[in-house]
Symmetry: C2
Subunit: 459 residues, 2 copies
């Protein structure tokens, strides 16, 4: 038997007490967000009507390398953290690979994913600011659940706009959010101007994240003392999610390990950005040079087939514009796309790093993803979320390459969550009725034609 344990949990004393801000080590900064009102780079004050002040400041801060995690947030982290770093011995054996496979498992909390790490931070700052409540959107439902938990804990009312297709596919996700006291509305809805507009043009639409964001922002800015929060994409979210990578790196140091390859699933970038943060720091500062691989769905391929350009973060085009890999703000993945990772854009930080060659990206089809998910579940007895299973697919593919080359590389991947609310998708995979879908070039051309024009910046 190996001396490396199956699971390593840091002790409470070993847990990080600061978040790490990746931008502080980027010599080339992401391009600034643009205020659509002025068509100029946004100032922090421009964000205050939409975001909490502290969060807006974190959003804009490219200087501060480490932020102290507030005591109240740390206390709540300790209820479900540290999350384990797990050695996938059974998977290694089944693949007959010389590679060592580790994964950081973020699914052991009721939200079922890493999203809780940022939800707690955002709810805490909202409470601290004395807000009356929050709004947000959710796609697959993990973020809405996580924020519902956090808001229940801090006693803040929450309205969640849930992408209609998920709302219908996942009635029990809604029930969990309601158990924590949230209001859940299928998006697009009749409760906002933007929702009504979208429904007028497309009454049977299943909705999209971009559209749900528009509704949540509208609801926040039209409700007294409300603000809007977002579970991915934003710089502040990557900051909070750095706890994943910091814990992982500390645990690997205890084991005397360092990853050669880091694999993460990529939707808006919250988990990937958090997982890789301290390793990317090593890359940026020349201390180490691990390969970093983003795995995205072939049906929503922002990195691999999107354009690096300024775009709106929402379908209703009311949010600031960010320079990112995007498929166009009204891109919608095919209805047969299961689970999350359905956002049209990508974290501006990760977009910049990808553009500058610090990371790679691959797109995978969903039947291949579920094949990996079921193989993993049987071997490691964790039923993974469809999103997380993209990383499993990527890690297995890298481990199989090691088998071919005979290299005993150390692979680390992020297992963001569990699939208990995704059984409709698993059933369609089990029954052989799941399809793959890849948008055509014409599809992408159409949605990319909606990119905004910004005088002097993007003509």
């Amino acid at each position: 038997m190996s001396k490396i344990p199956h699971r390593l949990y840091l002790t409470e004393e070993q847990m990080p007490t600061q978040w790490y801000n990746l931008r502080a080590d980027m010599k080339d900064q992401p391009d600034p967000i643009i205020n659509p009102g002025t068509m100029k780079p946004a100032q922090v004050e421009d964000l205050y009507p939409v975001f909490c002040e502290k969060l807006a400041q974190q959003e804009m801060d490219a200087e501060t390398r480490y932020f102290d995690i507030p005591e109240e947030v740390l206390e709540m982290y300790k209820i479900y953290r540290p999350s384990p770093l797990i050695r996938a011995y059974n998977l290694e054996k089944a693949l007959d690979t010389p590679a060592k496979i580790y994964f950081k498992f973020e699914g052991n909390n009721t939200s079922g994913s890493h999203k809780l790490n940022s939800a707690i931070a955002q709810a805490y700052y909202a409470k601290e600011q004395g807000l009356a409540g929050l709004t947000t959107e959710t796609g697959a439902g993990q973020w809405g659940t996580a924020l519902s938990e956090a808001c229940a804990y801090f006693g803040l009312p929450l309205t969640v706009f849930m992408v209609k297709v998920s709302y219908e596919q996942k009635p029990f996700r809604k029930a969990v959010m309601e158990t924590f006291g949230s209001s859940v509305i299928a998006s697009p809805s009749e409760t906002t101007n933007i929702g009504r507009e979208i429904l007028k043009n497309d009454p049977t639409t299943g909705g999209s994240l971009g559209c749900a964001i528009s509704e949540a922002v509208e609801k926040a800015v039209t409700s007294p003392n409300y603000r809007y929060v977002l579970g991915s994409v934003l710089n502040q979210v990557l900051l909070h999610q750095s706890i994943i990578g910091l814990e992982t790196k500390a645990a690997m140091e205890i084991l005397g390990e360092y990853p050669d390859i880091i694999v993460g699933c990529a939707g808006g970038g919250s988990n990937l950005g958090g997982l890789i943060a301290p390793f990317m720091q090593d890359k940026l500062t020349g201390k180490a040079n691990p390969r970093i691989v983003a795995v995205e769905p072939a049906s929503c391929p922002s990195f691999t087939r999107g354009t690096y350009a300024y775009d709106f973060c929402d379908t209703g085009r009311i949010t600031p514009m960010a320079k990112m890999y995007t498929l166009g703000s009204d891109f919608k993945p095919s209805a047969n796309h299961a689970g999350g990772l359905r956002y049209h854009g990508m974290s501006p930080i990760l977009s910049k790093l990808y553009h500058d060659g610090y990371m790679e990206a691959v797109a995978v089809e969903q039947t291949k993803v579920f094949e990996a998910a079921v193989q993993f579940a049987k071997l490691e007895t964790i039923l993974p979320a469809p999103e997380s299973s993209h990383a499993i697919r990527g890690a297995i593919d890298e481990a199989l390459k090691c088998k071919e080359s005979g290299e005993a590389k150390t692979i680390l991947f992020g297992l963001t969550g569990t699939g208990y609310f995704d059984m409709t998708a698993y059933t369609s995979y089990n029954e052989g009725t799941m399809n793959d879908y890849i948008p055509t070039d014409a599809d992408l051309e159409r949605s990319l034609a909606t990119l905004p024009k910004i005088p002097g910046i993007q003509e």
Copy 2:
């Protein structure tokens, strides 16, 4: 801040490597099981047609105090164990109680409950004996899921008879079992003689655990080289589940703690028996005297309103008879009873200990249980299973008594699992449509009238 961490995980080296057999310390033994064919105490060989030989031997062994956990079982335990011992700081604060509240959380694995601890052991011994496959029943679905995981891991085919009312309430539970490769059949079914018989008499029945057991046993004994396995009630199951209590006791020793009160939910007794095992050893050997409180549903009150008598373990009356607290083998909880803990009987070991005054029992109504569940979820961010929430209810009630008396007692409870597949029940609670149901005396009289007669033993 207290020095006691929120969560304590033992290290791999600190994990128990033996199961503890409570019977070895019982001066007064449970009465022997009776073979319905001979009406005499069963011999171990009598069990071989139904159970694996090693498991049958464990079932009958009242002498061996400790059993080594096989290396293969330990390896699989390490994939998801040790489970954390958690201090419920937020709950303590919200209750404003001087009591310290700890819970052992068994829900952080895909089966969502402690059931996996025995499933792995049973699947391992079945594989070791070279069996062709296994059958079992499941009520709420945790056991079926756990055994599906274990059988997938050891490569054993599995047929699960799932109580029809659960099968219909919880389609996603079925999907999880199928993802792990099991066949799932709603019980009663047309696939067995007993199922057909029961359906003939009551075509619209929602089924019961007792009936599903009958079908699973029939299927096992009529399929070549198959055996039947059971997730609760049996002595062997309590043996395997002792890992819960052993880990808990080791963790509490590290913290310098010992429980004054131990609270567990009670259906068939698998979690309760496992959790209390080493503490009951202390009671039996005079080393300590914690209070032990079983919490059961008012709608299925075997301890508090059942009779201590010989009864069949199944509705079809084909299993051996055991002396236990029972409501009669054709007792069915009301259809509005949500979740598990719906078995008509109770572990013979626990029944004997309760009868001899080593433990207490209380029955609670389900709206009170869900009230505790929602309060707990909001404070501790774990969405508990309805079964587990009986223990939460019991622990909260004990903590409130401490508040009244001003006593700073140490309360330990078992949180057996998560409620992700129980959202139908949560929704009915949230919407105010959940009812309580308590069987009438006439109901119990009727079902207890079916107790078997055993010449010279129970006339």
